[in-house]
Amino acid sequence: MDELYIKKVLDGDIDAFRYFVHQYKDKAYNLAFSVLKNEFDARDAVQEAYIIAFRKLGKFRGRSKFSTWFFRIVINEALKSSKKAGKEKYIADTRTESVDPGHVEINDIVSRDQQKYYIDLAMQNIPSKEALALTLFYIEEYSVEEIREITGWTESNTKVLLHRARKSMYHELNVLLSTEKKTLY
């Protein structure tokens, strides 16, 4: 389907480009948000990515899927604006070495809505690349190989980032939930 619309756009039917905007805007926004952690910055990054994709569509050779190629542009744009704004989060490595999933008892403490709130908060508190790795692997459900293609990271780099991201999330959730416990009791 993507190939058909690519051909249409290249033949001069620019309205056919709306298909790509409609089809991929949510995933692209999700990825940009995980890096930039701000809805306006994420929107701007995705918009810029669409313009770049339109400009470079003639160079797209179809070796990978259009979505892979496009999400790579989105991620590059998001990382670029994150760097420009000096947003890359530095977290001192005070994370607990190994926290078992069982020790994050999120279900026992808070309701479903609160859960979503705390998870979003924890995602915002972890470094951009780690949040991006979690989003790609657990939310968008890409394989490590696909993540490698989209981000340009190596396989081992992806695995290390995922490991660190999990650690960071456990740490953040523990901190947030221990505060919640103190408030409750």
Binding site: I14, D15, F17, R18, V21, H22, K25, D26, Y29, N30, F33, E39, R43, V46, Q47, Y50, I51, F54, R55, K56, L57, G58, K59, P101, I106, R112, Q115, K116, I119, D120, M123, L134, T135, Y138, I139, E140, R166, M169
Partner: protein
Amino acid sequence: MEKNNNHDRFFRELLSDSSREMPFSDFEDEVMAEIRMEYEKKFSGRRNIRLSWLFFILGMLSGIATVFVMSFYSANQPFAFISDNLLPVGIVFICLTIILFAEKLVKISFRRDNH
């Protein structure tokens, strides 16, 4: 291995509701407006390149014509100083201008990211 699977299961469940959707309802229209502007810019750029070629060729022909006219008049005595002094300078100037502008025009016209 099993520990990793536990982590994965836990995280998949944890993040299952965390997917976000574009919250700006006018996003598609805004992007398409930008794309249209980009498309028009591309075509106005192409039109300008065509005009540049036209005026470049006209200028080149006028330069050559001027050189011919000047060399024709140089046969007459009152204009002899022109052929001796100014004509070689004029020819060098026209040649340099042609080379420089031709190089720039070729670069702009055949740029790969002209899209």
